[in-house]
């Protein structure tokens, strides 16, 4: 077990006395080398979960255990964001070297590592380009190379392809699958696109809005590359859609219940 999120709860306190609870004793286990996709409606805490696992959000209760070690810190879980998080004051290769520099890796090795991963995402020719000269898809490729260069135990991806057009998104999905096959990385991939989740994941985890726990899991064994028109995949997509549609307005129901109890 490379990752065990144990009994995670997280509350958001707003300025009014109302507290919003996103998780309530959530448990998630991820095996080494597994590609897990997480889906759920907006507001269900998909991104929050990744932030907690990445160590960027510490206001939770519960335990994040990585490699059986509950106190592991450092860039062993690298997060790739939806929006551009590359630094505009550095060029492409300097961006990839950033994390390596923080780890005090010598310059030569740093550069060689960066170029190696830049090659993996097919952007060797753009090593010295400025970030603004790259398209959205190219930027996400650089983000992936930047994350991989740190050789993380777990790659966390927060809707990384959501802002891209359909064809770019498809080619990046294929590339991600190829890279995962090549590097055998464990990937935790959040998306609101059910088809994307089903196409990519070994396992699709559906988060619930109302209970703050995992609502359902789908294990997908069909070989890659997958075709979304495949019947068994289509069934999974529609089943997941049904699960998401249920209880569409949990907050309204809750409010209604509150009114009655008064």
């Amino acid at each position: 077990m490379i990752l065990h999120a144990k009994n995670i709860s997280r509350e958001y306190k707003s300025s009014t006395s109302y507290t919003h609870r996103v998780f309530n004793g959530l448990n998630l286990e991820v095996k080494k080398g597994e590609f897990v996709t997480i889906i759920g409606k907006s507001g269900c805490g998909k991104s929050t979960l990744l932030n907690i696992i990445a160590g960027l959000d510490s206001a939770y209760s519960g335990e994040i255990i990585v490699d059986d070690n509950p106190h592991l810190k450092g860039p062993d879980r690298v997060l790739i964001f939806q929006e551009n998080s590359l630094f505009p004051w550095l060029n492409v290769v300097q961006n990839i070297e950033f994390g390596l520099k923080q780890a005090n890796i010598p310059k030569k090795l740093r550069n060689a590592t960066a170029m190696n991963y830049l090659k993996m995402v097919g952007l060797s020719d753009f090593a010295h380009s400025n970030i603004h000269e790259l398209s959205g898809g190219m930027r996400q490729r650089v983000s992936i190379a930047r994350a991989l260069s740190l050789d993380p135990r777990i790659l966390l991806m927060d809707e990384p392809f959501a802002a891209l057009d359909t064809s770019t998104r498809q080619s990046l999905q294929n590339e991600l699958l190829r890279i995962q096959k090549q590097t055998r990385k464990t990937i935790l991939f959040v998306t609101h696109n059910i088809e994307e989740a089903v196409l990519l994941g070994d396992r699709v985890v559906l988060l619930s809005n109302s209970t703050g726990q995992i609502k359902k899991e789908f294990v997908i064994n069909s070989p890659r590359p997958r075709d979304i028109n495949n019947r068994s995949l289509k069934e999974i997509v529609s089943e997941a859609l049904d699960e998401l549609r249920e209880n569409h307005y949990p907050n309204t129901n809750q409010e209604y219940a509150n009114t009655i109890s008064i």
């Binding site: 990445a54 505009p88 004051w89 520099k101 923080q102 020719d125 603004h132 000269e133």
Partner: protein, 276 residues
């Protein structure tokens, strides 16, 4: 290796050079017209010669100042004062600006205080400086620092506060913390805003310096040449000194700051109308 973007860059440079030539021609035309109008007014005798000498007389004055060695020495001393004052202002401004970011309430209070003092006329510091410090170089430096430190402070404060959180989150996630996070992320991320503040601070410092040199007479400096010219009703010398002051200001703004700003804007992609 030639990428399509590099070749585009070369093209852009060529275009720039062409515009530069046109700029040069129009500047020359402007200068000639200006001198001609001045000469005509002089020949018509609108003002007495003592009040408005001809361009040639001013040129002679300028030559004299150069040959005496007064001008070179004055420029050197004035620039030295400017650099010492301005660098001190940058150190203090950036330092206090960062403390303001760290302590929220101090930051808020200090910010309104700094905004008020930023628009405070620099010359109005002179009597205070004379009585507090005296008629010496330190008094001049005090005025220069007080005039420029607040815009640098404000731009540091707002520049660091307005760093997109995604940069900090991403950097933290990749293991950056403490000094390194500051040095490699916060400082470069705040640079575009910092440059604007520093440029503004520079121009305030320059204004303040010449004013202070005229009023706090230390017997040397460009401002002192102006003061002496007034003392002896030597208009040629006054105009000659003005031309020198104008040129120094222009050179620094055009050559130093515009270049730095262009470089940063280019790297960040702030110059582009549309994204590729």
């Amino acid at each position: 290796m030639q990428t399509p973007y590099q070749s585009k860059g070369i093209l852009k440079n060529k275009k720039l050079r062409k515009i530069d030539l046109k700029d040069l021609a129009s500047t020359a035309a402007f200068l000639v017209a200006f001198l001609a109008i001045w000469e005509v007014i002089f020949l018509l005798g609108v003002f007495p010669v003592v009040s408005l000498p001809s361009p040639l007389m001013v040129g002679q004055s300028l030559l004299d100042l150069i040959q005496e060695g007064t001008l070179g020495y004055s420029i050197a001393v004035t620039m030295l004062r400017l650099f010492v004052g301005f660098l001190t202002a940058i150190l203090i401004g950036v330092g206090v600006g960062l403390v303001m970011v760290k302590f929220t309430y101090f930051g808020k209070t200090m910010n309104s205080f700094a905004v008020g003092l930023q628009s405070f006329p620099s010359i109005a510091w002179v009597p205070f400086a004379i009585l507090l410090i005296g008629l010496n170089d330190s008094g001049i430096l005090f005025v220069v620092i007080m005039s420029s430190v607040f815009s640098i402070m404000i731009s540091t404060y707002s520049g660091v506060r307005n760093i997109p959180p995604i940069y900090l989150r991403s950097a933290t996630n990749m293991g950056a913390k403490g000094i390194s996070l500051f040095r490699h992320v916060m400082l470069p991320a705040a640079t575009p805003s910092l440059i604007i503040g520093i440029r503004q601070g520079w121009s305030f410092a320059w204004h303040a310096l010449v004013g202070a040199e005229m009023l706090i007479t230390t017997l040397v400096g460009l401002g002192y040449i102006l003061a002496v010219g007034r003392e002896f009703s030597n208009m040629s010398q006054i105009i000659a000194a003005m031309i020198v002051i104008f040129t120094i200001g222009l050179v620094f703004d055009r050559v130093v700051f515009t270049k730095i700003e262009e470089k940063v804007r280019d790297r960040w992609g702030l110059n582009q109308q549309s994204e590729p």
